[in-house]
Symmetry: C2
Subunit: 90 residues, 2 copies
């Protein structure tokens, strides 16, 4: 049931919300908004941090975050943010 993934993703995204905001609008200029972002892009971005394909300044902070996530976590968290602000959002 799709809503379940939204709730699971929301729970897993707690730590992300510190910088990216609970509604996916980030708290500071250098941090991207994630609200309604494309799920495929969110998944590939997180995997890039894990694979050290993103290495500039703040990337190091995100590498640590991504390292703690399983592939399923990445899917659920990406799904959550991608659904924010969409009409289909439960």
């Amino acid at each position: 049931q799709e809503d379940a993934q939204f709730e699971v993703g929301k729970a897993k995204a707690k730590v992300c919300m510190t910088c990216h905001g609970e509604d996916g609008i980030s708290t500071l200029d250098p941090y991207p908004n994630l609200r309604g972002q494309k799920m495929g892009y969110l998944v590939s971005s997180l995997k890039d941090y894990k694979a050290r394909e993103r290495t500039s300044g703040l990337a190091i902070l995100m590498q640590q975050q991504a390292d703690a996530l399983t592939d399923q976590d990445i899917e659920d968290i990406s799904y959550y943010f991608s659904q924010l602000g969409q009409d289909t959002q439960p």
Copy 2:
């Protein structure tokens, strides 16, 4: 006059719109939406591509795009997309 930068950025962003959409909502799942994204994040992302700090799959395509941009282009294009969907948008 701030609107000038919006218009200049819009003109410079023509090529970006092919994948990222004229309104900043991307045409395909792997490409990020840029609509209303934080300007600081857009600027740092483009500079990361130029500096080869982003190197995974699609990054190579973006490296070529970023290589063609001056710092001013990066500021103007980032400003344009960051303003889309904001109430202050001219």
